[in-house]
Structure formats: C-alpha cells, structure tokens
C-alpha cells in the first residue's frame, strides 16, 4: 500500500482489532461502527467500544495457501481461515502465523478447525524498502502451542512503596531456534521484527503487572534494529497497547526511542524510575522496552562473526511506586568513547572491533560500573544473591562474573545467551527477567548492562513480597520459552531468510 492515510486507518483498527458492540441487541462488529445495523438510529452514538487484542478466538474453518498474492509471497505457504470470537458473535479473516508448512507436509484441515487461537501482532505483508511497514493482528496462533492465551486483568494497586521499582515485566522471544554446537538462538518468524517483539513484550509486561495501561505516562523503546531510521518503535507500542489516557485516536503518553547499542533499554531504567518518583511529573508508571532482531552480516562477509551469536527478542519493564515486585536500591553508569562496535547510517549490518571488544570495552566498563555501584552502596559480593551481566556470548559474562568474585549460583541463573543468543538491547534485561522469575522476596540482584560505544549501567534491585503474588499471572516466563516442546529448529538458510523478514 502506498497510501499513508489508508495505512493509518487500517493499522489503527487492525493492530488492536477494534470493534463495537450494540448495547441494545448485543450485536458485535469488527471495525468501529457508529450504529447497529439491526437497531438503527436509536443506537447511533451508543455503541460500546471493544477490542479483541487480549481475547481468545476459535479457528472456524481453514484452507491452505501455497500461491499467495504478491505481497504475501515471502510467507511462502500458510494456513488461512476464519476466526470467530465471543461464541461466533464476531468473525474475522485470519492467517495462522509461526508456522512453516513443509513442502511434503500433509495438511488435515479438520485437525486444525475448531481449535482455539489468539491474535498476534505482526507485519501484515511485504512492501518496498522505502514504504511504511504495515502491521496487523489478524494473524493467529493456537493457544495450546508455544504462545498461550493470557487474560489481561487489571488489579487495583494496594501498596505504595517509598522507592520506585519494577511493577511488572515481560519477555518475548519467537518459537523458532537455530542450534549450532551448544548454543541455541531465537529466530524471528518471517513476519516479526524489533517492533513486533516490542509490542509483544510490552503486552506481556502489562499482563504481569496487572496495572491499567492508561496509567503509563512514558514509554522508552531501546533498539539498534528498528526497521526505520526515522519513526519510533515506541509510538507503535503506545498505540497498540493503548498506553496513557486515550483521547479519540491519540494516546496521552510520551513515547521515545533510545539508542546506545545493547544498553539502550537499561540506560532508561533510572530515567523511568526517576520520572515516576518526581512529584510533579503526574506520571504513575513508565515502560522501558529493549527489543532487537539482532543484526549480523552473513557469515562470510565482514562483520559476519556476529552471525554466530545473534538472537531475537524483546523485554519490557514497567516502573512505578505501587505494587512493586523489586525496588531499585541504587545505580551507577559509566561511559567512554570506545569504538568497539558500530553501524554507519544506511548500512544494513554492524561492524565490530574483534578482540578490541573484550578487555578495553566490555570488561572495562562492566567492571567499572559494578565496582563503583558496590562501593557506593557499600556492598560485598556476599550481599548479592544474583548477578546479571550483558551476554554477547557465553564466555564474557562468565569471565567477568568470576573476576568480580561471584560464584556460579550467583551468575548462572541469569545466563540465557545459550538459549536465545545475544538479543542486543534485550540481552541483560532478559537475564534479569530470568532471575526475577525465580527470585524469592528480599533478595538483592545486581544487573550490569553493556553497550558498545561504550558504556555500562549497573543497578542494584531488591525484590519484595509481591513478587510471589504476581508470578502466577505470567505463563510466558523465560524458562517456559527456553524449554518449550513447541520450539521449532531451523537450518542456517531458513534462519537467514526468516531473519531478513518480509
């Protein structure tokens, strides 16, 4: 599509699957309608808003498409069908996603029909490189597979904390993996990118936090693989997840993208925490997302060494002062102008400085930030239950943890790189989430990120009692996504194709 106004209207309705219900007869409509066809004029202006974004549907009937229309050819083959919601009151067209249909695979439609599905936010179809990227949620996956359906229940907050902290978090990685040696890495499906992962992670964080999305006054999205050079990921997240007070089609939220290689997200934790603490900010909660379809040149090209380590995923944290699961005790950040990894404007893939990325870059900054923070808070290694470091590979975080004096039981639980690969901006945030998934109340966690270019953010976080209450709300934990029976492993060629996307 080359019409931006049409694109705006389609994604406004389709990303969230907005509809209206007649409050007289209960008839439901996909798309926003001002009156009910059955009730006529009396219903004008009295239709009730609804959306299907968090709902569970049913695949009514389906068929197979191996010769899609031109814009869908990069999907190859897929299952297409009709999905119903609310016991058939509303029916929409839909495509099954996260599914590679093999060329010799027998398809039994009756085995797929009647099963429950959940809407997924994805790229709609391919467009030219210079076009606006179309998105939609008329893409579905089965709820009894990788991605379970989870209700978004808003819970009234009951406890106010003195210091700001994490009130909820969410981690999203795809169901596809490439396994090489002992390392598994997450691979996006062909309709996924940094934007879709950001929305997924934000959605899961809202579900986990139980807070009303309208309470979020600021959203930061950190990434180094935004498919746009100019156009924020954060605005898409704000619109799709309805962050801030909604006024007609505008969200009352400040949204901004940040960039500092792999620490684009962690850098903003303190800004989010400070913002919600400032008495006159009028901001109750702030969301920080790290998201990347981590970029790497093909293996035989300059910069191709990264291709052995890159993953895909998003991780979102919501900061606030009510119903906190982990309070922020303190932080320290450091920066130097160290050119160890970069990507020039207009270039597709990043370059890196080989061995130079180690001692003078990663190790120096992480060591500096960790030591300064511990010194400032007067902490010894034994005061820390879990240590989380940025994870570009398996060796680096292990070596720095050991050098700093941490033991295996302190750093191993956060080590996720062998499961998902280096998820760039989401790397250390995923490590933190893995620890929060298992931590008990009153435990101190040290998280230290690293971003090339270069700098580190170190945070000391202490869990609260409420971490246990909220844990049950999240089925899509880090462990669930790492060890999942529905993971699908792909070969190198497929991995490159999927990663390149639509």
């Amino acid at each position: 599509m080359s019409s931006e106004p049409i694109e705006r209207r389609v994604s406004f309705l389709g990303d969230r699957l907005k509809g209206r219900r007649c409050q007289f007869c209960g008839k439901e409509y996909f798309e926003v309608r001002d009156y009910c066809g059955a009730c006529g004029r009396k219903s004008f202006g009295k239709m009730v808003d609804m959306d299907l974004f968090y709902e569970k549907g049913k695949l009514e009937v389906c068929t197979f498409t191996s010769e899609p229309t031109n814009k869908f050819t990069k999907l190859g083959s897929y299952i297409y069908g009709i999905v119903s919601f609310h016991d058939g009151k509303i029916r929409v067209p839909g495509r099954l996603t996260d599914r590679i249909v093999r060329c010799n695979e027998e398809i039994d439609f009756s085995a797929l029909e009647g099963r429950e599905v959940t809407p997924r936010f994805r790229r709609r179809y391919s467009v030219d490189k210079s076009d606006v990227i179309p998105t939609i949620s008329l893409t579905f996956t089965f709820v009894d597979e990788y991605y379970p359906h989870q209700e978004y229940t808003i819970v009234k907050p009951n406890k106010e904390y003195e210091a700001a902290g994490i009130v909820g978090y969410g981690v999203y990685t795809s169901r596809f993996r490439i396994k090489e040696g002992s390392i598994e890495r997450s691979v996006p499906f062909v309709d996924e990118d940094a934007i879709t992962a950001a929305v997924e992670a934000g959605k899961l964080a809202l579900i986990h936090s139980g807070i009303d999305s309208s309470l979020i006054g600021k959203i930061y999205a950190g990434s180094e693989s935004n498919p746009y050079a100019v156009k924020p990921i954060a605005s898409k997240v704000a619109q799709v997840l309805k962050l801030g007070e909604e006024c007609e089609d505008v969200q009352g939220v400040d949204a901004v993208d940040t960039e500092f290689a792999c620490k684009a997200a962690t850098s903003m934790f303190k800004d989010a925490a400070s913002l919600v603490s400032y008495p006159k900010s009028n901001i109750n909660c702030a969301m920080v997302i790290g998201t990347d379809n981590s970029q790497a040149a093909p293996r035989d090209c300059p910069g191709g060494e990264l291709d052995l380590f890159v993953g895909y995923g998003g991780c979102a944290y919501i900061f606030g002062k009510q119903d906190v699961i982990a309070e922020i005790e303190g932080w320290y950040s450091c920066t130097s102008d160290t050119p160890d990894f970069w990507r020039r404007d207009g270039e597709t893939y990043p370059m890196h400085g080989g061995r130079f990325t180690g001692d003078p870059a990663y190790f120096k900054h992480i060591r500096n930030a960790t030591e300064k923070l511990m010194e400032r808070l007067n902490l010894s290694v034994d005061d820390v239950k879990y240590f989380v470091a940025h994870q570009p590979n398996v060796q680096f975080p292990v070596r720095i943890a050991k050098e700093l004096g941490f033991k295996e039981e302190q750093y191993l639980p956060s080590l996720q790189v062998a499961k998902f690969g280096n998820t760039y901006s989401a790397s250390s945030p995923v490590g933190l989430a893995a620890v929060l998934d298992i931590a008990k109340p009153e435990e101190r966690i040290l998280i230290v990120s690293y971003g090339s270019g270069a700098g580190s953010d170190a945070y000391s976080i202490i869990t609260t009692n409420q971490i246990l209450d909220k844990r049950q709300r999240q089925k899509l934990t880090v462990g669930y996504q790492a060890e999942n029976p529905f993971l699908e492993y792909v070969d190198y060629t497929t991995y490159r194709r999927l990663k390149l996307g639509m």
Binding site: T63, S66, T69, N70, Y78, G81, I82, G94
Partner: protein, 398 residues
Amino acid sequence: MQIRPAIVAVGRTKFGEHYEKEPEKLIEEAWLKASQEADIERRDLEACYLSDYFLPITNKFGLEEGFLSELTELHVPMEVTRSFSSALSNACNAIQAGRYGMVLVGGIEKMTDRWDKIRDDLMLLEDPWSYYAGCTPEANHELMLRAYIRKYGIKGENIEKLNIALAQVSFKNHLHATKNEYAQYQRKITVEQVLSARKEARKPLGLYDFAPISDGATALILANEDVARKLTSKPVYVLGSSSATDYLTFPARDELTHFLVSEMAMKNALKMAEISLWDIQILELYDQSTVMEMISLEDLGFCKRGKSWVTIHENCKDYKGYYEIDGKRLFVNMNGGLKADGNPLGATGGAQIFEVFKQLRGEAGERQAKSDEEPMYGCILELEGFGTKGYVYIFGRD
C-alpha cells in the same frame, strides 16, 4: 409491466488471451456482431450502458465512455458500471421508463494485460480486510466448502462423493465448452485431472476448480417491445430482474455456506416474471469455482440445502447433458460456464445472456438444449465480489 424490454440481438468475442488487441477493439467486435444480427446502425442507438469491473486498474483506462465515443463517433449518453447485469439493469429501467427505444448494453474486460498483479487487484477489490489477512481469490471458495462440509456434517464416504461431484461440475462445463466456438477452453478434462490438481496443491480445490482470468467483450441490443418486434421475429424478453447486496467481508456474514444475495434476487425475479421456478429450463450460473455452481443450485431453489452435491453426483455418473431434478430437466451452463467459457468479469454476464438468448431462440447449434418441449424460460445468476452483489435475470420468449 407496461413496456417490456426485449433483446433483439447479441454479440460477443471469443474469451481468452487477446494480447494483441486493445480493449476498445474487443467491444467493437462484440458490438459489430450484435448490430449485424439486428441489422441496425450506430445512429439507431439512443444510449449505451457499458460495464467493466476494473479496466481503469488493468489497463489504466479512465473514462471508458470517451474511448467508446471516439471509436463509434457516438455522442449519446453512456454510463459505465461494474458488471454486465448492472448495466442491463440500468438499460431496462430506461426502456421501461419510456426514455429510450433502443440502447446498447456492452461489457468488456481485459485481465491478461495485468496477469502478474491481477490476483492482488481482485482480492483487494473483493474485500480489503480479507486481503490484509492473507486471503487469495481462491481461498474464500475453499473456506465456503469447508464450512459446507462442517455445517451439513458430511463425513467419510460422502466427503469423497462431494469432492467427486465438484470435479464433475468442472468436467461437465468443459464438455459443454467443446461445442462453444467462443469458449476459452474448448477441450475436455477428466474428473481425475481435477482431483489430482487438488492433491498437488494440497487444498480443497485445485486449478481445475476455478474459472480462469480472461479477456473478452459482449454486447446486446435492448429495445422496447414495439421496436423489437420490427427488428426480429424472435425477441427475448427480460421478464424478471432483481439484485441484492451483502457485506464485503465474507467471514463477517451470518451465513458462510450460501449467498444471501442469490436467494433474495431469485425470489424477487421469479415474482416479477410471474413464473414458477420449474418453468426455467436454461440456467447460467456464476461458477467462478465448482463450489459456486453447487451452492447456487441451492441458493436459487433448485436443490435442497446441503444436498445439491448428491444431485450433481447422481446426474454426472452418466451425464446426459442436463441435471434431472424431480423429473425435470435443467440445462446448466451450456456455454461451458465461467470455468470453460471464460470469465472476463465485466463481460461475463453478457456471455451468460448470449447463451440464454441463443438457447431460447433455438440457435445454439450443437449446444442446443435437447428436451421434449422447447425451452420457454432461461435464467442467469451473476455475482460481484464474493457474493457481495447478486443479480438474477429471467428471460422468456413468445
């Protein structure tokens, strides 16, 4: 009906791939054939009602009326609509109102010029939301079949029979087209070919279940009864006509196993024609897919809901040239249907009427319906989109 509109002559081109011809040339050819048959001149025409579904997209052709005016040196009122049936509807209204005595109704489409993008165009025009979700022009037909199987609880051996019945529809229509010099595919196919194409595609329907994309044009001369009688001894009257509309988005409709528009239009057209369903012997259905022929037999009332495939299956085991239902003969898609005759959207309805016209006048040659009594009434069903619009016309002779 005070003034009965009557068709005095019809003309058409062969359907198929006309790479070498401009769209205007095709309509010229159809018009010349019709005018020759009626022995009339351009200046006798008081207005033109034309149809094309999407020439502005396929051929970057705007204001088709202007092209036609240049071509014919006619400066009479001309209107363009999207389907032949809708053009005819406007023409009938004008004749009945007494405004004009004789008009041209024409339809044209040139789809092969845009073969590479045509499926995107078709789908986007049919329903944008389905397109955005990944629908193809074929998928809705397949979903309708799936819904049909589920709704009527068709299982096991019967599914096999249903699938064969649908393949027989295609076989039958191709067989008819062998006798139609204008048809796009004048060759036989086998039931096995239809079945194996589905298997290859791993889909409920395959290549041989769908009508092709086509180029072609059709035309007819419509006049009021008095004028018609002066021009021909065998006018064919428009006795009943009706249309109905439905949602653009197929999944959003209440009913997934039939088209409301066909049912409604047929009911009203029959009422208007003041004949009973079984007076109709010649029937041209809009078989964009084999499923369409199956469900249309039910929509129009010729078969019970959920049962038309049984009728098709029984009749096609040893096909005699017609469907025999309750002892009555129904000649369906004698020209080969959209499947074999071709489907140049804006011209398709004209080809359906061409066939009924020829059959009712006993001029269909080898294709002529063979029955004890010569057919008096014929009927066409034309659709726009996937059942978004439906037109039914009932024609009769003296």
